[in-house]
C-alpha cells in the first residue's frame, strides 16, 4: 500500500505562523510551534482519535464550537487559538469534571511524579474544585491479572486500555462495563486480563489506575534513572527504557521506535527482566574441581580454560547463542579461527546453509523492513509463528490488516516448495507489495536448501527485488542471529559473509552446531565453548547434546544463571552479562544495527565478555587488538565490508539499517547492473 505522502502547510496558532505536515492532528501540529495542547484519551498508537476526554478543546476561526485538537486535521491557513478565555474555561472545566471523582491520593499513588493528570491539573486546571459532594470510594487496589493492579477510583475513563485490548492487541478481554458515570473497566466475570501484550496498558494509563504489581511502590520517579536499551529476549529486539535504581532494573518500558516495535512491548520483555534480578546470578567464575563446580578467581578460571583449549586446539567447537553481541561473536570466532586454528564456530540453530544461499537470502535489494509489513498489500508468513518467534511482529501484522488492509497468507515450508505458483498468484492478487516473513527453521532439515531456493524463487516470481516496500524478512532463531552471521559466526563464512577464512578451506570445512555435537560425541572434537547458548533448548537435539557433552573433555560456558545441564556438564563457567549490562551492537532481523549500552553495573565479578575473550585469547598467545568495547565495535565495522565507516554515534538511539547506507554496495553479491 503506498504510504501517505505529506506536504507541509502553514497555519497560525496563538498568533504565530507555524509549518506542519498537512492533515496531522492539531495537537501534533501545535508541537511544531512549541504549543502544547493537553490530552488524555488521544494516543495515536491506538488508532483513530476518539475525542472522548475533551481535554484538547481549541478554538478555530470560522467554526463556532470549540473543536477537539486531537481529531481535527490541520489545514493550510487555519487559525487556531489555545489561549483564549473560552479555551481556558473549557480546559479548566474538563479538569474540574475529571477531578469530580478522582481521589486526591497522589502522595500514595505509584503514578505520582509521572502522572499526566497531575501535570495537566497543574498546568491547565482551575486550581480549586467546587465539588463538595463526597467522592466515590471503592476497594483498591485490586488484581486485574498476576502482573497488573487496577484502582478504579482513579480511572478517568479515557479508555485507552480498553482500546488497546480491542484495537491493538485484539484480544478483546478488557472492556468497559455499564454506562455513564457508572462505567468501569472490566474483564469477563472476574477472569484475569491475561494476554501476551497486557502490560502495555500500564504505560498507556494516564493516571494511577493501572499499575504494575511487581513495580508497585518499588521506587519513586525522582529516585530512579532511566536508560535506553534493546531487549534481547527474542529476535524482535524491541527498544526499551530501563528504570534503574541502586544498580537494579526495576521496570522495563517502551522506547517507541516506529521502525522496530511501534511503541509496544510484549509481557515477556516487560516483566521477565525485573524477574532476572531476583534469580540467582552467576557472579564469579566457576570451575569444576573434584567433580564439583566451585567459585574461583578470574585468573584461575582463565588459565584453566586456556590450558584446556590449548590442549584441544583445532578440536574445539564454539556456539554463540541469542543474546551474544556482534562484537562478542566476532571475537569468539577469531579466538577459534586464529587462536585455535579451528573453523568450527556457529550461531544458527537450523544447520548449515551454503554460503551463496546465505548471501542471496540476505541480498540488500531483497530485504523488507518491519514497517513494510504494515503497509504491504500482502504478507506471506512461511514456517513462522510471529507471536512466539518475534512476538511484537504479531501486533504489526494486526495493524497492517486493520488499518491498511494487509492480506496475510500463511504457508508451511512444504507448501512453499510445492505450491509456490499458487501462493504467488494469491499474493499478487492482493497487490504487488509483498513481504515474505519467514523463520530460520525454513532452512532446517534435509529439505532446508530446497526450501531456501523456493523462497528465492518466490521472490523472483513476485519481482520483490525491484519493488519498494516489498521483500524478504527473516526471523532468525537467535535474538541476534542476523548480527552473528554478519559478524562471521558461521562455519562457512567469515565477517561480512566473506569466504570462510583460514583454517577453513576446501579441504577443511567448519562444522555447524549439529556437526559439533556429533564431533564431540564421536571424539573427533574434545572441547566446546557455549557462549550464552543453550543447545538443550530444542528438545529434538537433547539426546545428541547429552552424548556430546558427556563425552567432551572440556565444556566452557558463558552463562548468567546456573541450570541442571551446566551443573552436570560444564567445566568452566564464566559469568555472562545481562543485556542491560552489555556494551555493543546487535542487528535486527531487517538489518537495523542497534546499540546496547550498560544501564546497570554487572553484579559481583562479572566481566565484560569482550574483555574475557581478549584475555582468553591472550593466554593462548593471540592478540585480538581490542582494548575497549569501543575498539571491539570499531573492529567489527572494519571487518564487515558492508558496515564500513559506521560509528556508534551514527547508530544512535534508534539504530540504522546498513542496507540504507552507501557501504551496502560492498555486500558480497552480484548486483544486476
Amino acid at each position: 500500500m503506498p504510504r501517505p505522502q505529506q506536504r507541509t502547510i502553514s497555519f497560525t496558532i496563538d498568533g504565530r505562523e507555524v509549518q506542519a505536515p498537512e492533515n496531522t492532528m492539531l495537537v501534533d501540529a501545535a508541537k511544531h510551534g512549541d504549543v502544547e495542547i493537553p490530552v488524555f484519551c488521544y494516543e495515536p498508537k491506538l488508532g483513530q482519535p476518539v475525542g472522548a476526554c475533551r481535554m484538547c478543546l481549541v478554538e478555530i476561526e470560522g467554526i463556532p464550537k470549540l473543536q477537539t485538537g486531537c481529531s481535527t486535521a490541520v489545514k493550510d491557513g487555519m487559525v487556531v487559538h489555545t489561549e483564549t478565555e473560552r479555551v481556558k474555561t473549557a480546559q479548566r472545566a474538563v479538569v474540574e469534571f475529571l477531578l469530580v471523582n478522582h481521589p486526591l491520593d497522589c502522595p500514595v499513588c505509584d503514578k505520582g511524579g509521572e502522572c499526566p493528570l497531575q501535570d495537566i491539573t497543574f498546568g491547565w486546571g482551575p486550581g480549586i474544585s467546587r465539588f463538595i459532594e463526597p467522592k466515590r470510594h471503592f476497594v483498591k487496589p485490586l488484581a486485574l491479572s498476576p502482573r497488573i493492579a487496577i484502582d478504579r477510583e482513579r480511572c478517568i475513563l479515557c479508555y485507552r486500555c480498553v482500546r488497546f485490548s480491542q484495537d491493538v492487541a485484539e484480544d478483546d478481554q478488557l472492556v468497559l462495563a455499564e454506562r455513564g458515570a457508572e462505567t468501569f473497566v472490566s474483564t469477563f466475570d472476574g477472569h484475569p486480563y491475561d494476554a501476551p501484550f497486557s502490560g502495555n496498558i500500564i504505560e498507556l494509563c494516564p493516571v494511577g489506575a493501572l499499575t504494575s504489581r511487581p513495580y508497585r511502590f518499588a521506587a519513586r520517579p525522582w529516585d530512579i534513572e532511566d536508560a535506553g536499551s534493546v531487549c534481547t529476549l527474542c529476535p524482535a529486539q524491541c527498544n526499551v527504557h530501563l528504570t534503574v535504581r541502586d544498580e537494579r532494573v526495576l521496570r522495563v518500558q517502551v522506547r517507541d521506535n516506529a521502525d522496530v516495535d511501534d511503541g509496544w512491548l510484549c509481557d515477556r520483555g516487560r516483566f521477565a527482566y525485573p524477574a532476572l534480578n531476583g534469580r540467582p546470578r552467576i557472579t564469579r567464575p566457576l570451575l569444576r574441581d573434584g567433580g564439583q563446580l566451585r567459585e574461583v578467581s578470574w585468573e584461575r578460571a582463565l588459565s584453566e580454560a586456556a590450558a584446556a583449549l590449548g590442549r584441544a586446539g583445532e578440536q574445539t567447537g564454539a556456539i554463540a547463542g541469542g543474546p551474544v553481541t556482534n562484537e562478542e561473536g566476532l571475537l569468539l570466532s577469531r579466538l577459534l579461527r586464529e587462536g585455535l586454528s579451528s573453523p568450527h564456530v556457529d550461531s544458527r540453530a537450523a544447520g548449515t546453509l551454503p554460503l551463496d544461499l546465505h548471501r542471496a537470502l540476505g541480498d540488500p535489494a531483497l530485504q523488507a523492513t518491519v514497517s513494510d509489513l504494515e503497509f504491504a498489500h500482502a504478507a506471506l508468513v512461511v514456517a513462522c509463528d510471529p507471536i512466539t518467534d518475534a512476538t511484537i511482529l504479531d501486533l504489526r501484522l494486526r495493524k497492517g490488516v486493520r488499518r491498511h488492509g494487509l492480506t496475510i497468507v500463511q504457508a508451511t515450508a512444504e507448501e512453499l516448495r510445492v505450491r509456490g505458483e499458487e501462493l504467488a498468484a494469491q499474493l499478487s492478487g492482493a497487490g504487488e507489495e509483498v513481504v515474505v516473513l519467514w523463520h530460520e527453521r525454513l532452512t532446517a532439515g534435509p529439505e532446508g536448501i530446497a526450501s531456501a531456493q523456493a523462497l528465492l524463487a518466490m521472490a523472483q516470481r513476485l519481482g520483490l527485488a525491484g519493488i519498494d516496500g516489498a521483500g524478504l524478512l527473516e526471523v532468525p532463531s537467535a535474538a541476534n542471529g542476523r548480527g552473528l552471521r554478519e559478524a562471521g559466526v558461521l562455519p562457512n563464512a567469515g565477517p561480512g559473509l566473506s569466504e570462510a577464512p583460514p583454517p577453513a578451506g576446501p579441504s577443511r570445512e567448519g562444522r555447524g552446531a549439529d556437526a559439533i555435537a556429533a564431533g564431540l560425541a564421536e571424539g573427533e572434537l574434545s572441547a566446546v565453548i557455549l557462549m550464552e547458548a543453550d543447545p538443550f533448548l530444542r528438545r529434538s537435539r537433547r539426546e545428541a547434546w547429552e552424548r556430546a557433552l558427556g563425552r567432551a573433555t572440556t565444556v566452557i560456558a558463558y552463562a548468567a544463571n546456573l541450570n541442571d545441564d551446566l551443573h552436570a556438564y560444564a567445566d568452566v563457567i564464566f559469568p555472562a552479562q545481562a543485556y542491560a549490562e552489555k556494551e555493543g551492537t546487535l542487528v535486527h532481523p531487517d538489518g537495523r544495527i542497534q546499540r546496547l549500552r550498560p544501564a546497570v553495573a554487572q553484579p559481583g565479578q562479572t566481566r565484560a565478555q569482550w574483555l574475557s575473550l581478549v584475555q582468553l585469547a591472550s593466554a593462548l598467545g593471540l592478540d585480538l587488538g581490542v582494548r575497549s568495547a569501543l575498539e571491539a565495535s570499531e573492529q567489527l565495522f572494519d571487518v564487515v565490508a558492508f558496515y564500513a565507516g559506521l560509528t556508534l554515534e551514527e547508530i544512535g538511539g534508534k539504530g540504522v539499517r546498513w542496507q540504507e547506507r552507501d557501504a551496502a554496495g560492498a555486500y558480497p553479491i552480484e548486483q544486476p547492473a
Partner: protein, 237 residues
C-alpha cells in the same frame, strides 16, 4: 457479574473466545443466533438480537449465557458483557432465589417526566411492594417508554397499559401470572389517536391489532424471508 469492586480471580484462565468443543450451546439458541448473524453484512451486528435470545432462554444474561453467545458469534464473552451492561433491557444481575429460569415477567414502570407528573413514582413503589416475595416478576423503573399519552403507564412483557391506578396493580399481576391479556381495557393497543381531525369517521376502539400484542423478540425471525413466525412469548410461560 463483575462490578466496581471485583477483583480478578487469578485462579481462572483468561477469557478468550470460547472453544466450540467444550462449550455446550442449546441448539435452539444456536439457530437463533446464526439466523441473526446471517441478516447483516457483519455478523457482529447480531450481538443485541443474540443477547435478547440468550436472555429469553436463560432468564438473564448470565456468564454462561454470554459464553454461549460468544461461542456461536466467535467473539470474547467480555465484548458481550460490555454490550449487555450498556442496555437497560438486558439483565446482568442474577434473578433472586426461587425465580423460574424462563418467563419471568418484566414490568417496566415509566417514571420519566410525563408519567411522573401523573404519579408514576408512587405507582412504581406500589408495584414493587405488590411483587415483594414473588420472584416471578422483575419490576423496574424505566425511562420514558414512549407512551406519555397513557401516563402513568407500564410495560408488562412488552404490553403497554395505562393510565394506571394503584388499584389496577392486583389485576395486572394476576393477568400476567395467568398468561391472560393484561388489563385489556387499558391497553395502548386499543386507543384511538387523540387528534380529533385524524379520523374522518368514527372507528371502533381497536381490538388489539395483529395477531396479539406479543413479543417483538421474535420479530427478527419473522423478518427473514420465508421465516415462519414462531409462537409468541405466551407459549413459553
Amino acid at each position: 457479574m463483575s462490578g466496581w469492586d471485583t477483583q480478578a480471580d487469578l485462579g481462572k484462565e483468561a477469557a478468550t473466545i470460547p472453544d466450540p468443543a467444550t462449550t455446550q450451546v442449546p441448539q435452539e439458541l444456536r439457530e437463533q443466533i446464526e439466523a441473526s448473524m446471517a441478516l447483516y453484512p457483519d455478523r457482529h451486528s447480531a450481538a443485541i438480537p443474540a443477547l435478547h435470545a440468550a436472555q429469553e432462554l436463560h432468564g438473564w444474561c448470565s456468564p454462561q449465557a454470554l459464553e454461549q453467545v460468544a461461542c456461536v458469534m466467535r467473539v470474547t464473552p467480555a465484548s458481550l458483557e460490555a454490550v449487555a451492561t450498556f442496555y437497560d433491557m438486558l439483565e446482568t444481575e442474577p434473578p433472586p432465589p426461587g425465580a423460574p429460569q424462563r418467563g419471568r415477567h418484566a414490568v417496566y414502570v415509566c417514571t420519566n417526566i410525563s408519567c411522573s407528573l401523573h404519579g408514576a413514582d408512587a405507582l412504581y413503589d406500589a408495584m414493587r411492594e405488590a411483587v415483594t416475595g414473588d420472584p416471578g416478576f422483575i419490576v423496574r423503573a424505566f425511562e420514558c417508554l414512549g407512551a406519555c399519552d397513557i401516563a402513568p403507564m407500564a410495560s408488562v412483557d412488552g404490553v403497554y397499559v395505562g393510565p394506571l391506578d394503584r388499584d389496577d396493580i392486583p389485576q395486572l399481576l394476576d393477568d400476567a401470572r395467568a398468561g391472560r391479556e393484561i388489563l385489556p381495557a387499558k391497553q395502548l393497543a386499543r386507543r384511538l389517536v387523540a387528534d380529533p381531525q385524524a379520523n374522518s369517521q368514527a372507528f371502533p376502539e381497536h381490538d388489539a391489532q395483529p395477531p396479539r400484542p406479543l413479543a417483538g423478540r421474535q420479530a427478527m425471525a419473522a423478518e427473514q424471508p420465508g421465516g415462519a413466525r414462531p409462537a409468541g412469548r405466551g407459549g413459553a410461560r
